[in-house]
Amino acid sequence: MELTTLFQQLINGVSIGSVYAIFTLGYTLIFSILGIINFAHGAVFTLGAYFTYALIGSRFGFNGIFANAQLPFGLPFPLALLGGGILAGLVGILIERVTFRPLRQRGADPLLTLVSSLGMAVALVNLIQYFVGAEAYSYPSSVLAGLPPSINFGTQEAPLIVRTVQIVIAIISMIILVLLTLFINRTKTGRALRAVSEDATTSSLLGINTDRLILLTFFLSGLVGGIAGTLVGLSVTITGPYFGIAFGLKGLAVIVLGGLGNIPGAVVGGIVIGIAENLLPASAVAYKDAIAFLILFIVLLVRPQGLLGRALIQKV
């Protein structure tokens, strides 16, 4: 394998890996505080992409109730990105209020909550389809106005192409990761979040408003997920509302590999899986999608706490 091809694959791997990473951060935030996987995250991720698409003033296609709908204004991309994320975060809050909180108040088995979030995911994704149809959408190229489509870090004979989109994604992912880590480690609210993830009961006895914090977590998770959705939509086309479910499933592999509830783990896991997918020999490229799940299966059997997680001890 040519060295430049190897580098190219690595770059592709890191690029998609960083998107997996920020997507999975949404899972991780909620897992670390509630101990459950929020399957609806995949739907929120999808919504983010669609919200941003609407906010930049694009028009929706021919199917669905909102056929041919278009917002009367169009925001510049960075604003739309943020806006889409915020709207997604709000949906996250709605989901928390409507399903997670009642189940939590009943002391329901975490598996029931998981199942409920699964139902929400399916319902929301299909709701999108109902409203705007199942077509593929792509962001118009004007979104990255002024920037060249790609940069060649190599030479004419041995090109090492990095698409501008990939750089943008990598930068945004880094920013999000840094901001989140700072937030969790340096702010009062962040420390409160860590406290609740260690022990919710004691935290509330100490005066921490756990309900409010949980809402905040869902908002952040949705925000991050929504932004991830837009970034993916930017990098490849949005192939329809279901692309969130597929991502949602891959995110499971990432979070388990990195270690459930572990933030750096989500990043490590994302990059590892991204690279693993892209380093396949040409003959095996068709099996790319199975790699993440093969890794998931093996990790579960061999080291369920993942790379960076702590071993779980069951209390009798």
């Binding site: 459950i36 996987i37 109730i65 399903t99 009642p102 189940l103 009943r106 329901a108 975490p110 598996l111 029931l112 909550t113 998981l114 199942v115 409920s116 979030s117 699964l118 139902g119 929400m120 995911a121 399916v122 319902a123 929301l124 994704v125 299909n126 709701l127 109902y130 479910i245 499933l249 499971l252 592999a253 388990v256 068709a286 099996y287 999608d289 199975a290 799940f293 093969l294 998931l296 299966f297 579960l300 059997l301 369920p304 009798v316």
Partner: protein, 348 residues
């Protein structure tokens, strides 16, 4: 009557098959395991049926396999003859395919289950999701499964019946057999062990119940059921492809059990029957005059939205599903006279 069968015959067959799938998810659930692997075994079973019936296992024309594989496939082809469209495929062979599918799925279940069932709760659910996804990608790419297109033209035992309702001679007994099996299991020693594991695995092991053995047993039985159903369904649908074994299918089947009832054998059956019929009911409702267009469209196309919300809120409102064991108990209580209350306190 004929009109009814023409319109709903196919749906009724599908309803029965989905009810069996619901039972196949219920079996591991009885032992406390949320396994989403059913569609994987369903897909394997379907491929077994489709591959055997269409002789897809034969080498490409002009080529041969190395011995002894070549002799084996020739022998296989003699047992499963290629049937021209319009000719009836022997019903007995369909049953043979079902048995073979069951055996294969059982073996795969043991191989996968032994390591995987050491996992609990969500980890197990994730492992089964991974299993289904890996199978799906494999089936999209292997030549024997027909790749992305799948396998077409699966021969029909009832070629003259366009409604496929004739399948009821297998589908109904199959459903009844599976239902009776689970009903009897619940009341037997092994079934009690499963339920104890579900209630409190720790206490169950402290009372002498071998968790691994029983969990693998439950998982394997579910797999066999799903595999057999797959082989039959491949014939009913006339075609088979990777779309039969997807994560979405896991969700649907989960809905049957969660909503129908997760604590008694009748729940999954009812759930499977009703929820498979639901889209048709909704479509009829959508056709009612005077409904606003958005509502009508929602009812006809929004089936998955409705299922999704049913699951999401169903676990909240009906944690045990619609059909609960209590319903049976109430009938039992009505039949027996009330016991004399014992004195509490005193001798322990």
């Amino acid at each position: 009557m004929d009109q009814f069968i023409t319109t709903y015959g196919f749906l009724i067959i599908l309803m029965m098959l989905q009810a069996v799938l619901a039972l196949s998810l219920y079996l591991p659930l009885m032992a406390g395991q949320l396994s989403l692997a059913t569609p994987g075994f369903f897909a394997i079973g379907g491929y077994v049926g489709a591959v055997l019936a269409t002789n897809k296992f034969m080498p490409a024309p002009g080529t041969t396999y190395p011995e002894p594989l070549q002799s084996f496939v020739v022998w296989l082809a003699s047992i499963f003859p290629l049937t021209a469209t319009g000719d009836a495929y022997p019903l007995g062979l369909v049953l043979v395919e079902m048995v073979l599918a069951g055996i294969l799925c059982g073996l795969v279940a043991i191989v996968i289950g032994l390591p995987a069932l050491r996992l609990r709760g969500i980890y197990l659910a994730l492992a089964t999701i991974a299993f289904v996804e890996i199978l799906r990608v494999l089936s999209l790419n292997l030549p024997i499964t027909g790749g992305a297109i799948g396998i077409f033209g699966v021969p029909q035992p009832f070629p003259d019946d366009a409604t496929k309702f004739s399948y009821i001679v297998i589908a109904l007994p199959f459903l009844l057999l599976c239902t009776w099996f689970v009903y009897r299991l619940e009341r037997s020693r092994v079934g009690r062990a499963f339920i104890a594991l579900r209630e409190d695995e720790l206490a169950a092991t402290a009372m002498g119940i071998n968790p691994t053995y029983n969990k693998v047993l439950a998982f394997t039985m579910g797999a066999i059921m799903a595999g057999m159903c797959g082989a039959l369904t491949a014939h009913v649908l006339n075609t088979w492809n990777a779309r039969q074994g997807t994560f979405d299918a896991s969700i649907l089947i989960l809905a049957y059990v969660i909503i129908g009832g997760s604590r008694t054998f009748l729940g999954p059956v009812m759930g499977g029957l009703l929820l498979t019929a639901l889209p048709e009911v909704l479509r009829q409702a959508a056709g009612i005059d005077g409904l606003p267009q958005w509502l009508s469209l929602f009812l006809s196309d929004g089936r998955l939205v409705i299922y999704g919300f049913l699951i999401a809120f169903g676990v909240l409102l009906f944690p045990q599903g619609l059909i609960t064991p209590d319903l049976f108990e109430r009938k039992q209580k009505a039949a027996t006279p009330a016991p004399v209350p014992a004195t509490s306190g005193g001798q322990p």
